[in-house]
Symmetry: C2
Subunit: 337 residues, 2 copies
DNA sequence: TTGAAAGCGCTAACAG
DNA sequence: CTGTTAGCGCTTTCAA
């Protein structure tokens, strides 16, 4: 059970450690015969090279880091699958870190990455992130970082996003076209670029439809289920009745359904609802929920591909470039069609 | 931007590398004064020790590996949160790997872990896993491994599970008590211990209620959405009408709802439905779904705690022990109450 | 309390 | 094609 090392293999085979190393990594400068001998022993003894020693020697780890706010979330879970699919293909491992929307955690994680434990990073910023020093700190050490979905505007790098503005615009238009006069916009209080884009799309649609754009119809939650729920309920009960809702976050669709049920508001009769969401269950809700579905898997794949490509070159340069993969509006019965 | 090393710090401070190293790890054998000097420079230069070099030197990495079949799954996503919460607390990082239910992938991942890149492993086996050689291979190298939820019976180690047998038993009893005469059991074709336990619970309940236990009522799917769906639909259409369903996997609740809708079967009027599920949306489905909710977060926490505890000791011995954290039957309107 | 020296286990020139 | 010789950057005796 005692650690098996290359040195031991070398001695056993009467070869140098260097030769064994090269044979194992299938270097061209080793004869087939020796490779065979080496591999046979490797097989027999079930030898696996020490990961830390190789990484140290090679000065890279064949590992990428992924930073996301949350994993109990269809979007991010699906994005991980996308990332994984191409990482695996390229022989990379994936370290996943969760910030739980905390800026402090985000900073700590990036700091840890400065230790060189990952070759590159894929990141979706937390809701609290308003400064980019920690990100620059990492990139200054020569570690490439790509944003996906939730980007931080102040940093120049490749960003894989979806068309948040247009999606919100289209969704709002849809509501207006189908009779909504008073449309709520729900989001988590923040300066997250994607939220702003969605909000702006909503606003533009309202303006085009000659509807009032007012802060009263823009609800910012703070991720506290109870108070968030009360805030929403209060709004829905108010005198001038809301007849449309656009939720900019998947999770916010739950309190909507709950509040409507409790207040005996029918969907879509009293209120039409659309939510940004990747929930598999959207079509089985009561009523089935009209969603803006993001191409989560594709976004993950694309982000990972571009990172891999950069890592493949010795001197990579990440373009300041936005790659937009569009979302789709999936009409279901929570709105009129 | 060129890599900053301890050696450089040492030279700058006119100290030895050894002293700097000890100062950074806050060793007691270093004077406060030197620690202060060192830390000041570390701060100023934004120095972060190389992760691979430290791990190599220390012969441990402060990293644990988590192997799960899938992350787009409420149970596993929540379990990750549980694991993360305690790993973070103890200063460990978490490497997450997905098998996508493939035994080959599972084996490859465990092999990779033999490289010593993780200090310990938390694992839920794939649906295909029928042999444990790869697991023994890892444990033989002295790397502790703990199972959670989906365990492999042939291996002696700590296992964190829930009461699958009793849960299925209770659920089936509930259906029977509320008038079901023909109850279907749905699962993915496998030898997974949790599935067997659930199936056995179901069978026991049927026997106690003098109902027929027949393979005709036990449907094994193969994870192909289309054919799975057709199989289910065919069964529901059959002459002798099914009036109760117990789904042993969250994902299987979707085709049930879909098939019932298409066949104009009302839930719970025609068919009562219960599913093992941790879906947040269960209560907003049409009708709200009665679920057996597993304590995912707790299971993750417990598994991680025990692993951390083992890693804390130099000579750890993982008890062959099953720790059972019970699930809860949450009654909603897809069944009668 | 500090430092010299010997690794950790593997990789990478560079000879031969 | 194989081996020698230096490292990679940090940790850890052990002596001073």
């Amino acid at each position: 059970m005692n650690k098996l090392t290359m040195k031991m293999l070398a001695k056993e085979l009467r070869l140098s450690v260097a030769t064994v190393s090269k044979a194992i990594t299938d270097s061209h400068e080793i004869s087939n015969k020796t490779k065979l001998r080496v591999n046979e022993l490797v097989q027999k003894l079930n030898y696996v090279p020490n990961h830390y020693a190789s990484s140290l020697g090679r000065r890279n780890s064949k590992t990428i880091g992924v930073i996301i706010p949350e994993v109990v979330d269809s979007f991010f879970a699906q994005a991980i699958n996308g990332i994984e699919s191409i990482a695996q293909e390229k022989g990379y491992s994936v370290l996943i870190y969760l910030t739980h929307e905390s800026f402090e955690k985000e900073r700590t994680i990036l700091k840890d990455f400065e230790s060189g434990r990952v070759d590159g990073v894929l990141m979706s910023v937390s809701r609290e992130t308003t400064k980019g020093d920690h990100i620059n700190g990492l990139m200054d050490k020569g570690i490439p970082l790509i944003f996906f979905d939730r980007v931080f505007d102040g940093i120049e790098t490749t960003k894989i996003i979806t068309n948040d503005f247009e999606s919100a615009y289209m969704a709002t238009k849809h509501l207006a076209k189908h009779g909504c006069k008073k449309i709520l916009f729900l989001s988590f209080s923040n300066i997250l670029s994607i939220s702003c884009n969605r909000l702006n799309g909503y606003k533009k649609a309202l303006l085009e439809c000659n509807m009032e754009v007012t802060d009263k119809n823009i609800l910012n939650f703070n991720n506290d289920p109870k108070s968030d729920y009360l805030l929403l309920k209060k709004k829905l009960k108010s005198a001038k009745r809301v007849d449309g809702i656009l939720a900019s976050v998947e999770k916010l669709s739950f309190p909507i359904y709950q509040a409507c049920e409790e207040l005996k508001l029918t969907i879509p009769g009293d209120v039409q609802v659309i939510s940004f969401s990747n929930l598999d269950t959207a079509s089985f809700l009561n009523p089935p929920l009209t969603t803006i579905a993001q191409p989560a898997f594709e976004i993950g794949r694309t982000a990972a591909s571009i990172l891999m490509k950069a890592l493949g070159r010795k001197a990579f340069e990440l373009q300041k470039e936005d790659i937009v993969i569009p979302s789709t509006l999936v009409l279901r019965r929570s709105t009129y069609i």
